[in-house]
């Protein structure tokens, strides 16, 4: 397999094509513009389609329509654009339309900054839109992982008939790294959608409807119960995280995405200085990898250092919940485009040693 020196956003786009994505709709917003730019040429080379939507709203709804016909489809954006796509994402989740939504996150609130940040944790994991639903959320920390997770996101989307939300950030999207890109999937290998896609009648001749609502209250409750059963299955089977140097750790650092990567550097630095630090880095944010935190030796460890590029802290709330408030939370935060320094985490830990 060949290695390429490639920018994160382009790796995301190429990985999607290799996963069998044949439709993309999106709207320009920094720092994710390389994704639509790349796909506006690449998708036509493989017989796919690309539309630059008239808005973020139109784009996500285009993905809704095409994905409902069984074609692997993706949209991407950044913070403010994700807010505009929110109702569409809700529709994808409610109508159980498999699809991939990428957020190359930037700083907020609102228009905020085009610089990298992690201020969309809560909106990605808790409430992308009204109505109470979840997306499956993946958080890559490197360009390699971004390519791998986007590639896999399409399989997860099909397996569960759900939107998969890839929460990357401006740092991962815009840096270049050496990446081994995944192999090109043949469309004929992909799972058949004939049993549900909207442009095929039922075998008995009846029509199909893809909708996030039901004509009856009981019908909608049943739909929501089915989704809840899926979320519970994710919790049981799909939690994923990286644990590093945790076996004898006395100090735990945790972060996701780019902060997780920086936190890992801090753990290596602390170990070099003889301090027994360890790392928990969630790879799935939904389902939240709470099992990773259940495995902490609470007899030995008394505090946890939470690194994230968000003020106020967001991810820290889930850490507090997952550790059942047994540990003191020490947040190491930046925001608004300020990239977290390894030394800030190292210093925070050393203050407690």
């Amino acid at each position: 397999m060949s290695k390429e020196f490639i920018k994160g956003n382009e790796a995301i786009a190429e990985a999607a094509v290799r996963a069998g994505c044949r439709f993309f709709a999106g709207y320009p917003i920094t720092p994710q513009n390389d994704i639509p730019e790349y796909l506006s040429k690449r998708l036509f080379e493989v017989g796919g389609n690309f539309i630059q939507g008239e808005s973020e709203v139109a784009s996500v709804n285009m993905v809704f329509g095409v994905a409902a016909t069984g074609i692997r489809s993706m949209t991407s954006s950044s913070g403010p654009g994700l807010a505009l796509k929110a109702e569409g994402i809700s529709n994808l989740a409610g109508a159980r339309v498999p699809s991939v939504v990428v957020n190359v996150a930037r700083g907020g609130p609102a228009i905020g900054t085009i610089l990298t940040a992690q201020q969309d944790y809560l909106s990605a994991t808790k409430a992308p839109a009204p109505g109470g639903f979840k997306c499956f959320v993946l958080a890559p920390a490197t360009v390699q992982e971004a390519a791998d997770l986007v590639y896999e996101a399409f399989d997860i989307a099909d397996k569960y008939r759900t939107p998969v939300y890839v929460l990357a950030d401006g740092m991962t999207g815009n840096m270049m790294e050496v990446v081994e890109l995944p192999p090109m999937r043949e469309l004929s290998e992909l799972p058949s959608k004939d049993d549900w896609r909207v442009n095929k009648l039922e075998q008995d001749g009846n029509f199909r409807s893809i909708s996030s609502y039901s004509p009856t209250a009981e019908g909608l409750q049943e739909m929501n119960e089915a989704s809840e059963a899926m979320y519970q299955q994710w919790d049981k089977e799909e939690q994923r995280w990286e644990a590093f140097m945790m076996d004898d750790a006395e100090y735990v650092v945790t972060g996701y995405g780019s902060s997780g990567r920086i936190a890992k550097s801090a753990v290596k630095e602390l170990r070099a200085q003889g301090i027994k630090a360890g790392l928990i880095r969630p790879i799935t944010l939904v389902p939240f990898p709470k099992d990773a935190f259940d495995q902490i030796d609470y007899g030995r460890i008394k505090e946890i250092f939470v690194a994230e590029m968000s003020i106020p802290a967001q991810y820290a709330d889930d850490v507090r919940w997952a550790t059942k408030s047994k540990l003191e939370i020490i947040s190491v935060l930046t925001s608004g485009g300020v990239i977290l320094e390894t030394e800030a985490i190292v210093d925070a830990v050393k203050e407690r040693v």
């Binding site: 808005s55 709203v57 709804n61 329509g65 442009n199 409807s209 893809i210």
Partner: protein
């Protein structure tokens, strides 16, 4: 027995619809179902339904249905057609959906000239939510959010969608029709059939505006509502073909 008239063979078993008595939606559904049957395209038809009264309508035509978020049927239909060129794609929308919240999607879908058929039900108000002012509400017409009647200075003029769409370069067939009497319903059916046939022939975008009655929110009985179309509504919204470059 010789059947000289009947329902399309595939309209829903639940005959009749959930629409208010006298409403025009049911008539348009029936005409659409007849056209789909006459053209033998049921297997490849996807209806992109709106939010609003017609959001109830998917099941009543027994056609494959995508229920679109409010205003987004134009975008959904565009993308589904682009990726499924052999399918017949219909965006069916009311005036709140198409001309208010979905105006951007409507205009861009038309401007791209996607090979789809848009059926626009203009009943001059937001029906489902109880009769609020729509972009199409007539000057002087009372609505629950324009209790003194639509006022040009306060609210602006009604949007004339067929005229607007016809001004764009890409659309191929644009017309305004009505369904308040048999003569007009027959013309509407012919227009819908023309639009769908154009899709099959890959001739491009068609926009069919249909003036429809809303007896409940107009607070008129069905007969007076029909008269209101003839005497008032069609004066602001003249019936006819606005563009035909087939």
């Amino acid at each position: 027995m010789n059947v000289v008239y009947g329902s399309p063979s595939f309209t829903s078993e639940v005959m009749g619809t959930g629409y208010c008595p006298g409403c025009g939606h049911g008539t348009v559904h029936k005409l659409l179902a007849e056209v789909v049957e006459e053209l033998s395209v049921r297997e490849k038809t996807v209806l992109c339904y709106p939010i609003g009264c017609a959001g109830l309508g998917g099941g009543w035509t027994n056609l494959n249905t995508l229920s679109c978020a409010h205003g987004r049927a134009g975008a959904v239909a565009t993308a589904v057609k682009k990726t499924n060129q052999d399918n017949v794609i219909i965006a069916y929308q009311g005036d709140g959906d198409l001309a208010a919240i979905g105006m951007a999607e409507t205009m861009h879908a038309a401007n791209r000239g996607e090979n789809i058929t848009v059926i626009f039900i203009n009943n001059t108000n937001f029906g489902m939510t109880g009769g609020q002012m729509a972009p199409t509400t007539l000057i002087g017409q009372k609505a629950t959010t324009s209790p003194d009647g639509r006022d040009l200075e306060r609210h602006g003029a009604p949007f004339k969608m067929a005229e607007l769409i016809a001004k764009l370069e890409a659309p191929k067939f644009v017309g305004r029709y009505a369904v308040h009497d048999a003569k007009n319903a027959i013309k509407t059916k012919a227009a819908i059939k023309k639009g769908l046939q154009m899709q099959l022939d890959k001739k491009g975008y068609s926009f069919i505006e249909v003036l429809s009655v809303c007896p409940t929110n107009w607070k008129k009985n069905p007969l007076d509502s029909a008269k209101y179309i003839d005497e008032v509504v069609s004066k602001t919204y003249p019936l006819g073909v606005y563009k035909d470059v087939e």
